[in-house]
């Protein structure tokens, strides 16, 4: 008797592992597609901050002159020419007697000697004077030079101090403008938020035409509570102005930034511009 044919079925091997791997692969593919194919990030355009300068910013500190001013060249003063004393030639002795001649010669000799001595002394004196003068001048020049150097040093110091001061000022200005930009961005965000809130609460009147602008002055408490709304520039449509005022009152308390500087733009008074669209 053949019982084999009636035996229960032997299940055929099915590639279950391969099927599982394929299933996982399909899911992985789908997740990858989602993660990389769809941009999930919403990016708010950062408010652009523009600085309006009344005057041009100071130019960058000038580069220090590398070569200091050359010290004034000491004037080489030519020593005054020594006065040349030309002794007039001794008068020719007249032809007299020999003795007389002799005496005369002797006298002449003596005179000459005296003259020579005198001359010598005078020259000596002149030289001494000249030397003294030159030395004095040198001393003066040296002094002047020293003074010049000191002045140059002082000037360089001043320049350096100036430079650091300018750099510090520029730094402070940059920090201030950065902070200002931050504050402006926060202010812009909250302005948008407030606008969106008010817009959501505004019931536009039926007879509204176009996109008229209403300018309001909103008095705010530090908590954001609306105290008082005043229309400073009406749109021309009274019903619409009224609707905007009501919407602002309804939006109370308005969202306010926590940043103190940014709050200053909202508290205690917020100038608010509203457009229906």
């Amino acid at each position: 008797m053949n019982v084999q044919a009636d035996a229960p079925l032997v299940s055929r091997p099915v590639p279950k592992l391969a099927a599982g791997a394929l299933a996982l692969g399909v899911h992985l593919l789908f997740v990858l597609l989602l993660v990389f194919g769809v941009s999930w990030q919403t990016q708010h355009p950062a408010p652009v901050m523009v600085d309006v300068w009344e005057s041009l910013p100071a130019p960058p500190p000038p580069v220090a002159e590398k070569t200091p001013r050359p010290p004034p060249r000491p004037v080489k003063r030519e020593p005054a020419p020594a006065p040349v004393v030309k002794e007039p030639a001794p008068p020719k002795a007249p032809d007299i007697a020999l003795e007389k001649k002799k005496a005369e010669a002797e006298r002449l000799k003596k005179q000459q000697a005296i003259q020579q001595a005198e001359e010598k002394a005078r020259a000596e004196a002149a030289r001494a004077a000249r030397e003294k003068q030159v030395a004095e001048q040198k001393k003066r020049e040296l002094l002047r030079q020293l003074e010049d150097e000191e002045a140059i040093q002082r000037m360089a110091d001043e320049e350096a101090a100036n430079r650091t001061r300018l750099a510090k000022q520029a730094e402070a200005r940059a920090a201030a403008s950065k902070r200002q930009a931050e504050v402006a961005s926060v202010v812009g965000q909250y302005r948008d938020l407030i606008s969106a809130t008010v817009r959501g609460n505004t019931r536009l009147p039926d007879n509204l035409v176009g996109n008229p602008e209403v300018r309001c002055l909103v008095k705010l408490l530090p908590t954001g509570e609306v105290q008082n709304v005043r229309v400073t520039k009406p749109s021309g449509n009274a019903a619409y102005d009224e609707a905007v005022v009501r919407a602002i009152e309804k939006s109370s308390p308005l969202p306010l930034p926590t940043d103190r500087d940014a709050r200053a733009a909202f508290v205690p008074e917020l100038s608010f511009v509203h457009r229906p669209k």
């Binding site: 299940s11 279950k16 899911h27």
Partner: protein
């Protein structure tokens, strides 16, 4: 930057920030999706193989092969045999057994053979249709499960909205986005399951038709053999 104003809507961030019921729904749907894809691939392989084996068997059978030789081969490789081969083997073995008992009428022999073949056919069909009901369930239920997660998530988002005085869209948007992921996952699980279910039921129907026709034709052949021998 203000954290409430810039919304980080990355996928994983949204899933991790979802409330617990929504996360549970997502987990359930992920499991359903994984299982249904697993079954889809298993069925795909199994049906492909069944079609291939059936084709080759039909070619052999109608190609005028010796029925006895075929029966011996099929009986020897039972585990590897295809659905139609097993029906053939069951019917033929029953036929042989009934023929060996003397005094049975032709009708009894053929009826017995057909019953044996039908039993095997039912069993084979059952094997082919296994897991199909799971695909059908996933296909029809997972959108609702996803919807449930979404509704729950949106409910929670709006409840959170009621507690703040300043109601803006930015406060509900992340909650709604994360809730909608549940619907997306439900649809992601359901669509392949429905497609797979439809395709597999169609394939199995065609295979079943072929098997039934084969059963009828084979009983005819056997009947002819008995009557020709009796003559």
């Amino acid at each position: 930057m203000n954290p409430e104003l810039s919304q980080d809507l990355s996928l994983f961030h949204l899933i991790l920030n979802a409330s617990v019921p929504v996360q549970l729904v997502m987990l359930l749907l992920l499991g359903a999706s994984l299982l249904s894809w697993w079954f889809i691939f298993i069925k795909l392989f199994a049906l492909k193989r069944a079609l291939r084996v059936t084709d080759s068997f039909e070619r052999e059978f109608w190609g005028g092969g010796d029925i006895n030789v075929m029966y011996k081969r099929v009986a020897a490789e039972r585990a590897e045999a295809g659905e139609m081969e097993r029906i053939f083997a069951a019917g033929f073995s029953e036929f042989i057994k009934l023929r060996q008992q003397a005094g049975l009428s032709l009708n009894v022999i053929i009826d017995g053979t057909r019953r044996a073949m039908r039993a095997t056919y039912q069993r084979e069909l059952d094997g082919l249709e296994a897991h199909l009901s799971f695909l059908a369930t996933v296909g029809s239920v997972s959108p609702y499960v996803g919807l449930f997660g979404t509704v729950w998530g949106i409910m929670i988002a709006f409840m959170g909205l009621s507690s703040v005085a300043q109601a803006t869209l930015a406060q509900v948007a992340p909650g709604i986005a994360e809730a909608l992921i549940a619907t997306a996952m439900g649809l992601f699980a359901a669509i392949p399951a429905v497609v797979g279910y439809n395709r597999f039921t169609h394939d199995i129907d065609r295979l079943a038709n072929r098997m039934e026709s084969f059963m009828e034709e084979f009983s005819n052949i056997l009947q002819r053999q008995v009557t020709s021998k009796a003559d």
